[in-house]
Symmetry: C2
Subunit: 423 residues, 2 copies
């Protein structure tokens, strides 16, 4: 029987311990994690092999099985990423907003760990290490719940992480995994507000919705992107097309890839055939509104393109695949209206040579990241210089966009006085 | 029939409008609100009088009735506070964290409104204006739900606020109140995540719990403080006692007042009688642990003090009254343990002349505000220099401690490139 309140108590106690750990101690823990992941590679790969056997027997799809798979090479990459986290600056203890106030109080804010962070994720064993490493560096304890398809892998990895923590004098309970496959435990975990400070789900829209519906703990949702790029009449075709190609084709299955292309009417007859020729050659399927469809089907090459009329649903879908919805709009106003209605608040871009249009787009689009003449693919912790990323928030509280180390911290007010009373 | 989804849609549309309003326009709205609160004073006071009649007929307690009451003087104070918000700097549009990254992207963060903020509060009509004023200044639309005991007052005030918004060309729907007394509406409001970005409850622990249990929208809980002051052996009695007096007596009914005094054993025989003499004269009742009780009951003046033995519950209670729980501890370690176990994370203080003890207390106490040689009463937006405050957060995400204008905003990432693709 998994005793969730006990896990919560252990995590809370470990969090107090971890919040007092020095940077050196936390970095030593990360290097020990990397070392032991290598040393205990056989045990981890054995556990993963049993998950894979169960997964195949259960008829899981190939792309899911590939996400689940660990190899010596993948483990080496995970270990390298863990060492990279050790090299990042420690956010804990930083002070800011210093002020001496008229009432005599000297105040500042001091960055502190969040406390206990809960991660709920799907069948990606690497998230177990990523979450553990970033949480340890930020001074947080963590309770992990990976998909039940990878419970053996999560258990084996968490055991090794615990050994590493103990090796440097930190409690193994700072990183705990719930490996009991009983799905009711997820619902109970989401109500453990006495012990857990925040839940970060990593997975599809269904998981995020489930967390919102059931949690009494604050949840940071994200990672769902219906991303738009608007190309206005001033854009140069030959410069716009490579960005659109990059945004849709480079990694079709990720949340910051482009789903919807909005094209200003004036440039549509020149832009759309060039887009279709370039992206079509990479196998992209086009779902076009009436006007875009007319332009594209007029092109002699259109017989070689996967081209159909878009449904309303196509403009509200994160495809995660080589599919692009296309709509022709009058102008920036109509593009902004469309985005306000359909965006999931993840990443949007404008391609333009008109700086006034760029300014307005940046001001009015209410998304975690807004780009001018750059691919939506840049909404990423690594690309934004955070060094590492554990999730991409699309809600507006605390963290927006990529969540790195700093986003796994909070702060406290510190006030000092010379034996001061409030007047 | 109150149509909540319609209210949500209206708020969302108004939020887009408000996010584009200039500082001048928002300040004009605040001055118009202040002017019209004065002009329409009779209508507001009439509505309030009807709430008061209903409240008296329903047998509400005097302190509740006093909170509900509006007078010309109270309205004038509310109007003056609204003009003060107009004088505060506009947080929206500020940019920060500028960087030019190795990938060629120029990034920064830009402060933006949260969008739509929902307030759920008890029978305090002034919160209607406070919330409206701060939300308008921060560029947010707001949906207000005041206690059903003040529905007429809220309705009248919201009507006047709407007139003020329209006077300066902003939509009246930027500030909406739900005045239908049906309590099921609160539950439905908490699930309006399609339209509302954050819920800020203002009220007792029961309201906060109800919000956590029922909301699918992020909730910022706070305002509940079991606040501790620890006095160690190095403190000077004559300097410590005035701080303890201030913390308990100045305003007993507020969340940042002291509930629990922890005293290091060595100083207890000298400190406790001095505390009891000073605070006892102000009518404070003492609930002492065995050791503190022994010290105090030994004092010849003890017959004049309200003194009893503390129960376990007394050390987990926000008294909101002239009551103080007292415990004698061995040392800083025991004080920190006690606080870790019992604190609600609001405000704690240490009184000491030992700077190492002060540093450790500040490092290890995990509360929104931690004070050295100053009263817990300083945990307040005004005292911290925020200019205004709409709530005090005791959770760790987004905002911690007093929430002013900046805490009613979020940010977006802005990335610009020279027609840049991700490598």
């Amino acid at each position: 029987m998994t005793d969730l309140p006990y896990i919560g108590q252990q995590a809370r106690a470990a969090a107090r311990h971890l919040s007092r750990a020095t940077t050196e101690q936390k970095n030593a823990a990360l290097h020990a994690m990397a070392d032991l992941l290598d040393e205990h590679q056989d045990a981890i790969l054995d556990a993963n092999a049993s998950d894979m056997r169960r997964g195949k027997a259960a008829g899981l799809r190939d792309n899911l099985l590939d996400r689940m798979l660990l190899t010596p090479q993948r483990l080496a990459t995970i270990a390298r990423d863990t060492r990279n986290v050790a090299r990042l600056p420690d956010p804990v203890g930083e002070t800011f907003d210093h002020a001496e106030l008229p009432n005599g109080l000297r105040v500042h804010k001091r960055r502190t760990p969040l406390g206990v962070v809960g991660f709920i994720y799907e069948a990606r064993p690497n998230v177990t290490v990523d979450a553990a490493a970033l949480c340890v560096k930020a001074g947080n304890a963590t309770v992990l719940r990976g998909g039940s398809d990878i419970s053996a892998s999560c258990g084996a990895i968490t055991h090794v992480v615990g050994l590493a923590l103990e090796q440097v004098g930190l409690p193994a309970t700072a990183v705990q995994s719930i490996t009991d496959p009983n799905r009711d435990l997820v619902r109970d975990l989401l109500r453990l507000d006495q012990y857990i400070d925040v839940i970060v789900p990593r997975g599809g829209a269904g998981l995020h919705r489930f967390c919102l519906e059931n949690a009494t703990i604050p949840v940071i949702t994200g990672g769902i992107g219906v991303c738009h790029i608007y190309v206005d009449a001033t854009a140069a075709i030959e410069r716009a097309v490579p960005i659109l190609y990059n945004a849709r084709v480079q990694r079709p299955s990720v949340c910051n890839s482009m789903d919807v292309l909005l094209v200003q009417r004036e440039i549509a007859p020149r832009l759309l055939p060039a887009v279709a020729a370039s992206l079509g050659a990479a196998g992209v399927e086009f779902r076009a509104d009436q006007e875009a469809f007319a332009v594209l089907s007029d092109d002699p090459r259109s017989t070689t393109w996967k081209l159909s009329r878009a449904s309303a649903a196509d403009f509200a879908t994160e495809f995660l695949a080589l599919i692009l919805a296309i709509r022709v709009v009058d102008n920036l106003d109509e593009a902004l209206e469309h985005i306000a209605l359909h965006s999931t608040g993840h990443s949007e871009a404008i391609l333009t040579n008109d700086s006034a249009a760029a300014d307005r787009f940046v001001s009015e689009v209410d998304s975690a990241a807004v780009f001018v003449n750059a691919s939506t693919r840049f909404n990423d912790g690594g690309e934004f210089g955070l060094g590492a990323e554990i999730a991409v928030s699309t809600q507006k509280l605390h963290a927006r966009g990529p969540m790195g180390l700093q986003e796994l911290t909070t702060f406290k007010w510190v006030g000092a006085g010379d034996w001061l009373v409030r007047a």
